[in-house]
Symmetry: C2
Subunit: 226 residues, 2 copies
């Protein structure tokens, strides 16, 4: 494959390969011949699972194991990988055998999803876990932003309450500080205080409740970091 | 829990915790109260899967994806984790609720396996992937050594042959170089050469065949690194 084409893929991934042959292998479907990407895909799949698990753990301190598992399953399934592969126009870089080429294999979700996982595996192999993590999180940015905290299980206020109860601490106090704007476009500012932990943050929202949720979310993140 | 007890566990793990409360949380079963180890176990499970996948990938260059998956499933299942937890005498460090304590929960395979995974998750959280990897690989050392390469799928000679055929190269040539020692304790030295790839390595074994396998294994590793 011409070098400038692979460089375009490297730019889209945000990673420049030291071992160009690993990049080649990652985009090589088994129909093309060996070395192909099946083994590296096995590796990439497990790296992806780990990176996504760690990110969900961090983002949703109030979620239980089962809910984290469900969210992860959603993020690592073929459909999600396929969508990201399409954004990368990964189909343009695949090496496929004659048969797959003719039958449109470069558009097939399973082939594209596998190649994307193989790319994660190749980055892990040559540059380590942190390099793979940073590429994966950048590519998954929109997916993480699209997670609805309500779908993700508990809302932040409930999550915070459970965390505090778990530590045998008093419930947080929410105080409405200000209300701004006209009736149809009001903005609320709320303070959330956990006295025993010396934590006090402010949240803003278009309703009192959403301002409280925003503040609770921030407190959850602070507590998870302690 | 008394500090010296936790220090004994840290020594067995080969990791000293910066955040002692994370270690406490990892050995706390949900029956004891919160914060318990369920969320960290979710994280640890995925770290373990990734570390084991990477190690198998490296150790068995001749194995295909499906065979690697089977081996991994065997290494991360409850039984294996339970065996390692027993070596660590992890039951001595668990925090369990009254009921579990009375019914012998500190000996229960699922509780011990989960706590071990939680420990991996806790190390990952505070010290990163490489720290978790080194603890896991040390604890899994005996498990990896016990993998029978025949059970693990193909023997190295077969694996090498398949790799070369896949790359459309000629088969390797094996040449017996020397035979040493007396009849009941002979040692064979064999050379394995892949001319087209400019690779030539020597293997030693107690039979001609085992010397060839040893040489083939080395060639597989070299080719996987290219």
């Amino acid at each position: 494959m011409r070098t400038e084409r692979l460089e375009r893929l490297e730019r889209a991934l945000g990673h420049t390969f030291l071992r160009r042959e690993l990049l080649q292998q990652a985009v090589t479907h088994r129909s093309y011949g060996t070395p192909h990407n099946e083994r590296i895909e096995f590796l990439g799949d497990s790296v992806l699972n780990c990176v996504i698990a760690a990110r969900l753990f961090e983002l949703f301190p109030g979620l239980r194991e089962g809910e984290l598992s469900r969210l992860r399953a959603n993020l690592v399934r073929q459909e999600t990988l396929f969508a990201i592969a399409q954004e990368l126009t990964l189909g343009n870089y695949l090496r496929l055998g004659e048969g797959e080429l003719k039958s449109g294999g470069f558009r097939r979700p399973s082939i594209l999803a596998d190649a994307l996982e193989a790319l994660f595996g190749a980055i892990f192999l040559e540059a380590g876990f942190e390099a793979a993590r940073s590429v994966i999180l950048r590519l998954y940015d929109a997916q993480f932003k699209a997670i609805d905290p309500r779908q993700a299980g508990k809302d932040p206020k409930t999550a915070l309450q459970e965390i505090l109860q778990g530590r045998r601490l008093a419930l947080p106090q929410y105080v409405l500080l200000t209300t701004r704007g006209e009736a149809h476009a009001q903005e609320f500012e709320v303070e959330c205080r956990v006295a025993e932990l010396d934590v006090c943050v402010r949240g803003i929202g278009s309703s009192r409740r959403s301002a409280e949720q925003e503040a609770a979310q921030q407190v959850c993140r602070i507590l998870d970091g302690r």
